[in-house]
C-alpha cells in the first residue's frame, strides 16, 4: 500500500507539472496575450505583470520563476483590475463554489445510491423502471438546460423559489438540483448494475443460508461490494461537478469561482485563466488521489497485493 501511494503521489506531481507547463507555454504562444503584447493593458497592470511574471527576463527564467510562485500558492495578478490578484478571487469565490460543489456531491451520491439500490432490489418492478427513466433523462439533459428549465418553471412561472444568487437555503435548491441530477443519474445506473451483479454472487447465497435478515444481507454484505465500482468514478464525477459549477454559477449569478473563471475567459484575462486552470487541476488531481486511497481502504484485496502478495 505504501509503495503504491508513493507511486501514485509521484504520478500526481508529474501530471500537475505537465498542466502548469502546458498552461504556461500556451499562454506565451498566444498572439495578442499580455505576455507578448502590451497594447491593451493599462500601465499599472503592465507593471504588475512585468513584476510578477518577470517579463523582462528570458522565457526560461520566467518559467522557473512561475513554477516557484505556483509552489508557493501565488497565482499572480489580474490584468483587468490592477488591484486584484487571482488569490483574491480564489479567496472570495472558492468558499461559495466549494459549498455548492460539496452539497451537490453529497446529494448526488446519497440519492444516486438510494435510487440504484431500490431499482436493483425491485428489479424489473415499477420502481426500477421509474428510477432508470430518471437516470436516462438525467444523463441526457445537460445541466445548463436543466438549470434554465428549472428557472423558467419553478422560479418564474410558479414563483416557488428565487431565480438567482446565493443567500439562503432557498437559493441553493435549484442550482444544487440542476448540478446534481447528472452525477446522480450516473451513480444510480452504476449502483443498480453493480448491485444486481453482486446479488447473484455466491457469498450472498452464503449470507442467506446463515439465516440473516434481508436488511442485513443488502446493507452489510451486498452494498459495500456494490459500491466499489461507484467509488472508482467519484473522481470523474467530481470533475464533472466542478466544470458544471462554471455554467451553473453563470446561470444563477452565484458569486463563486466558476463565475469568475467564465468572466475571465470572456474578458480574456489570461493570468486569471492560467491561475484558475492550474488551481482547479491541482484540486481535481488531488481528489483523484484521494479516491484511489479510499478505494484501497474499502477493498481489502488492494492492500494485499502490495503488502503480503500471496
Amino acid at each position: 500500500m505504501a509503495t503504491y501511494l508513493i507511486k501514485r503521489f509521484f504520478a500526481m506531481i508529474v501530471t500537475l507539472w505537465l498542466i502548469i507547463t502546458l498552461t504556461f507555454f500556451l499562454m506565451h504562444a498566444l498572439p495578442g496575450s499580455p505576455f507578448n503584447d502590451e497594447r491593451n493593458t493599462s500601465e499599472a497592470v503592465q507593471k504588475n505583470l512585468i513584476a510578477h511574471f518577470n517579463l523582462d527576463q528570458p522565457v526560461s527564467v520566467q518559467y522557473i520563476e512561475y513554477l516557484k510562485s505556483i509552489v508557493q500558492f501565488d497565482f499572480g495578478p489580474s490584468i483587468k483590475k490592477s488591484s486584484q490578484t487571482v488569490n483574491d478571487l480564489l479567496g472570495r469565490g472558492f468558499p461559495v463554489s466549494f459549498e455548492l460543489g460539496m452539497v451537490t456531491l453529497v446529494v448526488a451520491i446519497l440519492s444516486g445510491i438510494l435510487l440504484g439500490v431500490l431499482a436493483a432490489l425491485k428489479h424489473n418492478g415499477v420502481i426500477d423502471y421509474l428510477a432508470m427513466t430518471i437516470a436516462v433523462l438525467g444523463i441526457s439533459v445537460p445541466n445548463f438546460v436543466l438549470a434554465t428549465l428549472l428557472i423558467q418553471q419553478v422560479a418564474v412561472n410558479w414563483e416557488l423559489l428565487p431565480v438567482a444568487t446565493w443567500k439562503s437555503w432557498r437559493h441553493m435548491v435549484l442550482p444544487t438540483l440542476a448540478l446534481a441530477t447528472g452525477p446522480m443519474a450516473i451513480i444510480a445506473r452504476l449502483t443498480r448494475s453493480s448491485m444486481l451483479e453482486v446479488l447473484t454472487q455466491d457469498y450472498i447465497l452464503t449470507a442467506k443460508a446463515k439465516g440473516l435478515t434481508p436488511f442485513k444481507i443488502v446493507f452489510k454484505h451486498a452494498l459495500k461490494n456494490a459500491l466499489l465500482p461507484v467509488v472508482t468514478v467519484l473522481g470523474a464525477l467530481a470533475a464533472g461537478i466542478l466544470t458544471g459549477t462554471f455554467v451553473i454559477e453563470k446561470i444563477f449569478a452565484i458569486p463563486g469561482m466558476g463565475k469568475y473563471f467564465v468572466d475571465s475567459i470572456n474578458n480574456r484575462d489570461y493570468p486569471v485563466i492560467m491561475g484558475t486552470t492550474i488551481f482547479y487541476s491541482a484540486l481535481l488531481i488531488f481528489l483523484l488521489f484521494l479516491v484511489d486511497v479510499a478505494y484501497g481502504i474499502l477493498d481489502p484485496r488492494i492492500k494485499l497485493h502490495k503488502k503480503e502478495g500471496r
Binding site: D202, G211, L212
Partner: protein
Amino acid sequence: MEKILQVKNLHVSFRTYGGEVKAVRGVTFDLHKGETIAIVGESGCGKSVTAKSIMGLIPNPPGKITDGKILFKGKDLAKLPDRELRKIRGADISMIFQDPMTALNPTLTIGEQIMEGIIQHHKIARSDARKKALEILELVGIPSPKSRLKQYPHQFSGGMRQRIVIALALICEPEVMIADEPTTALDVTIQAQILDLFRDIQKKTGVSIILITHDLGVVAQVADRVAVMYGGKIIETGTKREIFYEPQHPYTKGLLNSVPRIDIEDAELVPIAGTPPDLFAPPAGCPFVARCEYAMEVCDRIYPTQTLKGNEHQVYCWLQDVRAKTSFATKW
C-alpha cells in the same frame, strides 16, 4: 433410527422465457440422525435444486415449490413463510456451497463472517461469539485461529477457505448440514483432507449430512446411503454397498462404469452416450429412456413403479418387472 428430515414428493419448477422448467419432479427421501446421504447425478438432474429447496433458497420468482412436503421437527419447510424459515436456516440446517473462492464475502473479515450467524440466531455477546468462533476454527483445522480471525478471505488458500465455509456452517451446531459439491472446486489432495474433515466432524458433533455430488469417488468415501437422481427424479436409492455392488438401474450401472476403478482389473471406462432430457417437456415415462440401451416401449409411456430390492434398496425401472425378463433374457 430417528428420521430427522423427510422430503416427500417434492416438485420444483422455474418459470423462464422459454416456458416452465420442471427441475424436480417428485423427489422423496429420508435423512436419519447422524448419517450421511449422498445425492448423486450429473449436472442439471435437479440435485442442487433439491438441496436449495430444503433451505428455502430457491429464488422466487422464477422458482417455486409446486408440490410436496419437507418435514423437519414437525414443520413443513415447503410452506413456512420466509421469516420462520430464516430462524431455521443456519441455526438448525446449514449449507455449504461449491466454490470456496466465491462463497465468502471479500470485504468482511472471516471472523465477522463466522460470528454473524451465531449472533443472529442466539443473540449472544460478541466476546462469546468470538470464543465460539475460535473453537469452531480449531475444530475445522485452521492453525493459529486467533490471528486469522481478523484476516480477509483472499489471505487464505482454497482448501483453507473451504474449512472456513464449513466453520460458518457449523457455528450454530446445526442438526443437518447440506453440502453442495463441497470438494468439486478443490485439488485432489485437498479434497481428501476436506472429506476426512467431514467424517471427523460427524463423529464429534453427530450432525446429519446431505451431500450433493456428481463424484462417485466422494460418495464412496463418506456416504452411508446414496440416492441417484436423473431428470428431476430419484431413480434408485440404497445403502452405499447396495448401490456400488448391486446397482439395479441401467443409469446407476452406467455411472459406475464411467468411473475408473482399481478394484476390478482391466475395467473398461464406458461413457453414457447422449445428453439428459429436456426439462421444459419432461418425458411421460422414464427420463433415461433416450439413452438407455435396454429401453422398451413401456419406458416411453409410463414412469416405472417402485421395486424393493432390500430394506432400503429401491429402484424405479421397468426392467424389474417380470414381463421384461423375457425380452432381454440374453442381455440382462
